[in-house]
Symmetry: C2
């Protein structure tokens, strides 16, 4: 098995146990790992680090990943108390609690900013890279597994590299990656990419074999969440998006086969893909960060011609048959470094249609993607800002209510802003969509309330807006500041944002 995967003669004596490899990790180190969404992250060595923490060792590590990773790092290492600082994104319940409790210091970052900041030294010196691969080439180069993320930068910047060769990842992934690295400024050349399907780099990450201090065999699979069938709300949101896109085509503002699509992660995103597969759109392309099950189905069905991303986040079912499906789509999919997939210049150049999920938005179109009730970190904003700001069209979706209607996802004023009114063109709920282009704040508010708010909250929102306009005239963006966040206080006190009638 390992013969096919560890092809570099001079590295064969670096094979060791996970425990031996983990011994390279010392107190206070900054570790950068592969992994983007729970795909392609190292597993065996992190489990050893967790064990050391459980045994009482105070490791106090800074852990930098491409995006969220699986439980071996974010749950187990957190529980073992070995993570002191964490960048740039996470989706783990245990880590989330530690972050909100202040036990783990967390900076929520635009994912496209991470590689450059790593390289520029803004996040400190990288002591050690721990990366998962499917194989090491004869020259010692690394073939990533189900994600690229910032693995190339980890390998470049770290003093030492530990490699996990994961035998549960299909060798068919080889050839699907396209690794380009950007130098630091000044005098950077243009990135020579004009279509999602273009290859501009190498199928492996170059690595000086002398930097590799340990290689570990691992067979623990990725830990993607199961994908549930879209519920009615997701289907309705998806229908509203497709209705909007069709209107744009009709008005001549979009080509018939649209423009490269980016869609966030989750059930709404999957419902949108499913909706598109049932629509009459054809010859679509995808330029996104995360490729989910839906994309693979669309590629096989011939609806999507090409898909570019930085990671495969697949359901356990799709993951199980990935080796079998890959040959069918291999020439239609490219996995790139996040510095390329999320590059603001490329997103702008390609004209990406960005579709992302909001926790909530306010009547003026400001979006909260990260903080529940403004203070409690959920996951982070991930790459949503990269695609939203640079995209040709920027769309945000949310269900109009949460907690069985007790919470309105449209509020007078979001208590945390991840995407400003300047960045958000269209907001969509299951109720409808509001196209905000060219509108002033009050016009935006009227349209959002009318088209997107849940009927249970329309009167309340209108009442707030009307009083804000009336009570303090002469405000471009009317607010009653003493009341702007009162919906969260009411929620805390009464269990709902609804005003008792």
């Amino acid at each position: 098995m390992m013969e096919k995967r560890l092809r570099c003669e001079k590295l064969k004596d670096k094979l060791m146990t996970a425990k031996e490899a983990a011994a390279f990790v010392k107190k206070d180190m900054t570790i950068a790992t592969s992994g983007f969404t729970p795909a392609g992250y190292p597993k065996a060595i992190p489990l050893e680090l967790a064990r050391r923490g459980e045994a009482g060792e105070k490791l106090n590590l800074t852990v930098i990943t491409g995006a969220s990773v699986g439980p071996e790092i974010d749950e187990k290492m957190t529980n073992a108390g070995v993570v002191a600082r964490r960048f740039p994104y996470q989706t783990d319940r245990t880590l989330r609690k530690a972050i909100n409790d202040g036990k783990v210091k967390y900076q929520d970052m635009h994912l496209s900013h991470v590689p450059q900041q790593l390289k520029a030294g803004f996040l400190g010196h990288i002591d050690l890279a721990i990366v998962e691969v499917v194989a090491i080439t004869e020259e010692g180069h690394l073939i990533p597994s189900t994600s690229v993320g910032q693995t190339n930068i980890c390998v470049e910047m770290a003093d030492q590299v530990l490699v996990e060769i994961n035998t549960s990842q299909p060798l068919e992934l080889e050839g699907m990656h396209d690794i380009t690295e950007l130098p630091l400024p000044p005098y950077r050349k243009p990135i020579d990419l004009t279509r999602p399907e273009e290859r501009i780099g190498k199928p492996y990450i170059e690595c000086d074999p002398d930097k590799i201090v340990g290689i570990v065999e691992c067979d623990i699979p990725d830990s993607p969440a199961p994908i549930v069938e879209p519920d009615q709300v997701s289907i309705d949101i998806s229908k509203n998006i497709i209705r909007f896109l069709k209107e744009e085509v009709k008005a001549g503002r979009l080509p018939k086969n649209l423009l490269p699509l980016q869609s966030g992660v989750g059930n709404v995103a999957n419902a949108v893909l499913k909706g598109i597969s049932d629509s009459d759109f054809e010859h679509l392309t995808v330029y996104s960060e995360v490729l989910q099950d839906g994309i693979i189905d669309l590629l096989i069905a011939g609806k999507v011609d090409y898909a570019s991303g930085t990671s495969f986040t697949l359901s356990p079912e799709m993951n199980a048959r990935l080796g079998e499906e890959l040959p069918k789509i291999k020439d239609k999919v490219i996995l790139r470094p996040v510095e390329i997939s999320n590059n603001p210049g490329l997103i702008r150049r390609l004209g990406v249609i960005a579709i992302n999920t909001a926790l909530e938005f306010d009547i003026y179109g400001n979006v909260n993607s990260s903080h529940v009730s403004g203070t409690n970190m959920m996951n982070g904003l991930g790459g949503s800002g990269d695609f939203t700001r640079g995209g040709y069209l920027s769309i945000f979706t949310t269900q109009s209510t949460a907690k069985k209607g007790l919470i309105s996802a449209i509020v007078p004023c979001v208590p945390h802003v991840d995407h400003t009114e300047h960045d958000v063109m269209v907001v969509v709920t299951e109720q409808g969509y509001a196209d905000l282009r060219g509108l002033d704040p009050v016009e935006r508010a009227r349209k959002i309330i009318e088209n997107c708010a849940h009927p249970d909250y329309k009167d309340q929102l209108e009442d707030y807006l009307n009083r804000a306009i009336k009570e303090s005239p002469g405000q471009h963006t009317p607010h009653i500041l003493s009341e702007a966040f009162s919906w969260y206080d009411r929620l805390k006190e009464t269990g709902t944002m609804k005003i008792d009638q």
Copy 2:
């Protein structure tokens, strides 16, 4: 005089009075004009439109400019009631009041977004372009004056074009422009620019002469604001920025001659430039949107090797001797379309150091650039977002207090967010700077309060932060939402944000 400036034979019979030209403007039209800051905007025809409004005509115009423009448009036309809708930026007192009163609908936009949205039809059909030039070539092409902005897009997209040849603008401007136009996606090629000094386009705007329906001679000069000598606060802010930049060079995170600089408009920006000219930095470059007096001095002094922007906003004194100064700096300055100067991909590629002014920021690093007390529109965010998000380093400056200390420019929670915590690396006041890179929200808050807040407000801010942490544990970004905006209520009630001791 006009012989040198109107060189196209077939257009000579299009010369007419401003009144005749203004007659092409009909009710309900959308007009796109040249002009970026009060530089290079049309004057004579707008004054005629204002006269028609004063005479009782209801024109109901949508007016789209590159950025702010001078009083002929934003003051006179607003006062005459002919402007119904206005994009994307303004700095005029009269227009500001009309916007806040809801009489003029205004959308505050990222300036880099405007050309693409105009071209894509997102802002509606453009009926008429009104553009100022220094000359029309033999072929009928247009040579812009002191700004480019989105003039090239206006000309391309409008059904008809009116031209003002401004004889007060020096003909020496000819040759300083570099006009490149980007097609709409898909399949856009990379923009072939790797250094601020590179020319990639033509020195004129191509225009089909048949589209030009009227040409007006005008001698009204640009209306830039006088530049006052930097006060002590601006000088102190500038010193703190330079101290930060020197630390970065020392730490190896910036080259000795820095990276291309962008700095906003105003006295702090000018003080920064003056500070740089007094420092030992050399061979600097500028990749910015607005070039102010300071840059010209730095070019002549040999401190700055090259400067690229989209407009000259000069003091009346510098404006008066512009014709004389231009030959000295002509090969060192390039004026580009805003689509290029503010292009997120280029800003990222070149690694621009973005220095912009905030109205206020909060303890977590969120910046309000546009709304006084969260509701009242001041100017807009302009290009600050284009440079901040894409820049290698993003810096925001403000005086730590306003209104003689009655207002703190550092608050618990800004009531309007133009730049999120994810986008802001360094904040600077006259008190000091806070480097926020790699810090979690509470760490950021402690550092901002310690380094940047005015001593009069430190205790109040610390008290808020400590109570927010204590009263509701388990919050990544601690807030007491019922109190977060209370500083604005106190200001309204007592005339100061200070808590009565």
